[in-house]
Amino acid sequence: MSATQQQFCTFYIQSLLFGVEVETVQEVIRHLEMTGVPLAPEVVAGLINLRGQIVTAIDLRRRLGVAGRRAGELPMNVVVRTGDGAVSLLVDEIGDVVEVEEKDFEKAPDTLSSTSRELIRGVYKLKKELLLVLDTQRSVNISATAGNESH
């Protein structure tokens, strides 16, 4: 792999293709049973038991502000490493690992919503579709006090 190439682990959210750098991904697993956390921010879908480790699951649909999942649609877990331990990102569907070239990169267009612009670092123009680069650190950066904890 040359210096201008980068590998991304991709997944779909509402038919949009997202990607995170392969190195930050710990593992990808099928749907796991979750325990909801009352009073938590809406984007926190719950806690999962990842082989004895308790991992917070963040629903990327809610995080990106797109429509929620329909009943019966089970999300997949993309477990990423962050500064504060592993966090699971809930996505609709897992895609391939793709290799991209630096020259295909472009900044996210200004017309995106402000939340999306905050979380999407940029776009790689693949042959068939666009790959949106997700900023994992920002995606998992939510504090409980900002949620509905306040009375």
């Binding site: 325990t35 909801g36 956390v37 009352p38 009073l39 999962i48 966090v87 939510i142 006090t145 509905n148």
Partner: protein, 706 residues
């Protein structure tokens, strides 16, 4: 850093700690040959090993110290306070040197001429002054004898283990406990005898392993207490007080993390006792007490917790001064202060910014401290309580859990989810069935209460606190489960859907996304592999504003007074009707407090009624009955006090429900109105006491209603 130096740093630290204790002991027993020999040996080791690994400064200081000790051994020099102080100073210098080495790898450029000079001065003065030492010359031989006897006995029974490794092992055992729980859950629907017995063995071995690993992390509390003789000596010397330190139960063991967490709070308490608690010899003699004060530390296991008591026989807390200070600082209003019990007042010392010390010394009394002590102890799930008798002393009682990593917990269900409640907060379980479930929980405006053996227990609903919308998997009987909990010195009832079982759980912290939610202390993995949240009882109580605030104090006072079983006292419901003053109804006459929408009021005959619990309940306007001009009809719901008798319920319509008070009421003035029992002073206000049965009869007779 060099491995030898690393090892020496650990060993050196231990030697210095031991020296601290030995010197204090030596001052009391100046004739002990054994002690002289031990101190000599320790200083010799510091000097020798220090020199070998290139710590020249350490070597040179301890060389002079060794000379002094050597004179003592030979009986040419006898110990006194100034020599001990100089030697203790030398130990402090040693400590600083070791700390510098640990930080930088070198000894640094500390100036040692001062200490070496003062030590040399002792040597020369000693030559002139002391001819015949107290220690006889043959002490040398004896000391050498003891030295060779004691030398080898502690070599093989201990090894040093890296704490991180222990933590890792502890985590793994935690995982094993979880896996064991999971396996045990499978056994319930298995019939294979071999599997069952294997699972049983796994269970036993895991439990034993867990206990064993816990033990490796256990340390005797003596490890902290060992520092206190020196602290007490230094402080009593500088303050001119005579203090005897006694310790009991220093072998009591605690988890390493807890030992570390209570080190500073304990030291602070000891300093505080010496500085504020114990008096000077003159003051003590004036108070008919022996000039020497006593500081007593005691530790023991009880009910899965460690109890630590620190008591002194000093002047005790000046409760009046504390009360005055609390009012002056605006921490609590004066009427409230007047109602608080002595114990409540004494515990005010744990509030932030509180110090009643007349003068601020460099030891304590800066108004920071006791609140930090309390916070630190509560952080590790402990409690602290103070009791004091003026003139006779003060006792602080600390209760802390043995360990934090694996705790017993009660598992409850609410809204289909399981939650773990740490067993230490649990007081009892109450289950209300049938009729009791319908009327057991009473309302005071928004607040629910339950009468637990005559005491009003505030009730909070877990599903409401956590804003759970899912309905319970109701078992249909409508029973209410109340978990009675203790938080922050107060009790409250937590209503949950179901109570499952108690289980040993492994506490795992929550990630930062969820750390801000005060209701949860962490999470754990249950036997079936699912995650359950651990409730933070103090946080939950605070969220429901039960604990911590000043209003909580009043509730606690009322509760305590009730608990004292004072029959003269009665609970009164305070309310307001029209423009009258306050009215009071004995709480025993009140079944429930309700709000009704004005639209639900119907007429039956010439009475106003509402449908209430499948009954038709007549409404009686208290204003009309007392001939008080009623307020113009307002919007919103009407406030009703429900009074139930054998023949049914009657609703008393009032304008406002104010409060519940708990006090002895003496009827001060008789009133010529049969609907009133009289009037009395409640909460500094003249209050008319309603005669409820009479009021209802009079209404019935007059055929008048609201």
């Amino acid at each position: 850093m060099d491995e030898f130096i690393q090892e020496f740093l650990i060993e050196g630290g231990e030697i210095l700690d031991q020296l601290d204790r030995d010197f204090v002991e030596f001052e009391k027993n100046p004739n002990s040959k054994e002690l002289v020999a031990r101190i000599f040996r320790a200083i010799h080791t510091l000097k020798g090993t220090g020199g070998t690994i290139g710590l020249k400064k350490l070597e040179s200081v301890n060389h002079v110290g060794e000379n002094i000790l050597s004179r003592m051994r030979e009986g040419k020099l006898s110990v006194n306070a100034s020599i001990t102080s100089a030697l203790l100073k030398m130990i402090d210098v040693d400590r600083q040197l070791l700390a510098t080495v640990e930080r930088t790898g070198e000894e640094g450029d500390m100036d040692l001429s001062g200490i070496i000079q003062s030590l040399n001065a002792i040597l020369t003065a000693g030559e002139i002054l002391v001819q015949n030492g107290i220690v006889p010359p043959n002490a040398v031989q004896d000391a050498l004898q003891i030295q060779s006897e004691n030398h080898d006995d502690s070599v093989t029974s201990n090894i040093r283990v890296d704490v991180n490794l222990l933590d890792k092992v502890m985590n793994l055992v935690g995982e094993l406990v979880l896996a064991r729980n999971q396996i045990l859950q499978f056994t319930s629907n298995q019939k294979d005898a071999a599997f069952l017995s294997t699972a049983q063995r796994l269970n036993l071995i895991t439990t034993e392993l867990q206990e064993g690993v816990m033990k490796t992390r256990m340390q005797p509390i003596g490890n902290i207490w060992n520092k206190f003789p020196r602290v007490v000596r230094d402080l009593s010397n500088s303050s001119g007080k005579l203090v005897r330190l006694e310790m009991e139960g220093s072998q009591t063991e605690l988890d390493k993390t807890i030992i570390e967490a209570i080190k500073d709070p304990l030291t602070h308490i000891v300093r505080n006792s010496l500085d504020h608690g114990l008096e000077t010899p003159a003051q003590r003699e004036a108070a008919n007490k022996p000039p020497q004060g006593l500081l007593f530390l005691r530790a023991f296991h009880e009910g899965g917790q460690v109890n630590i008591e620190i008591s002194d026989d000093g002047a005790g807390l000046d409760l009046n001064a504390i009360r005055a200070k609390a009012i002056e600082r605006g921490i609590l209003p004066s009427q409230q202060a007047a109602k608080m019990t002595d114990r409540e007042i004494a515990n005010l010392i744990f509030m932030a910014g509180f110090s009643t010390a007349q003068k601020i010394t460099n030891i304590s009394g800066r108004g920071v401290g006791m609140d930090v002590v309390k916070t630190n102890i509560e952080k590790i799930g402990g409690t602290v309580d103070v009791s004091s008798v003026r003139g006779h002393g003060t006792t602080l009682k600390i209760k802390i859990p043995l360990t934090l990593a694996i705790i017993p917990a009660l598992i409850v269900t609410t809204g289909g989810d399981r939650f773990a409640i740490p067993q230490v907060s649990l007081v009892e379980l109450v289950r209300l069935e049938g009729k009791a479930a319908e009327s057991g929980v009473e309302m005071i405006q928004e607040a629910a209460v339950y009468r637990l053996r005559g005491t009003l227990l505030p009730i909070i609903y877990l599903n409401r606190e956590l804003k759970l919308t899912r309905k319970a998997d109701s078992d249909g009987d409508g029973a209410i489960n109340i978990v009675v909990l203790q938080a922050d010195g107060r009790q409250f009832g937590l209503v949950v859907d179901g109570i499952n079982d108690t289980e040993e759980i492994v506490v795992k912290p929550l990630r930062k996304q969820l750390r801000g939610i005060s209701c949860f202390a962490g999470a754990t993995i249950m036997g079936d592999g699912k995650v359950a949240l651990i409730l933070d009882i103090v946080g939950l109580a605070q969220r429901a504003s039960l604990a911590g605030e000043s209003s909580g104090h009043v509730a606690a006072v009322a509760k305590e007074e009730l608990a004292e079983g004072n029959e003269k006292r009665e609970s009164w419901l305070l309310l307001r009707v029209g423009d009258s003053g306050k009215l009071a109804i004995p709480l025993s006459m009140v079944s429930r407090l309700e709000e009704f929408d004005r639209k639900t009021i119907e007429s039956s005959g010439n009475r106003q009624v509402v449908q209430y619990r499948r009954e038709i309940m007549p409404l009686v306007s208290v204003a009309d009955a007392l001939h008080i001009p009623a307020h113009a009809v307002r919007e919103g719901p009407i406030q009703v006090v429900v009074h139930s008798t054998g023949s049914g319920s009657v609703g008393l319509v009032v304008d406002e429900i104010l409060d519940i008070v708990d006090q002895h009421v003496s009827v001060a003035r008789k009133i010529d109105n049969s609907c009133l029992l009289g009037s009395a002073v409640i909460q500094q206000h003249v209050t008319d006491l309603l005669n409820v049965p009479e009021l209802i009869t009079s209404i019935a007779n007059e055929g008048r209603m609201a």
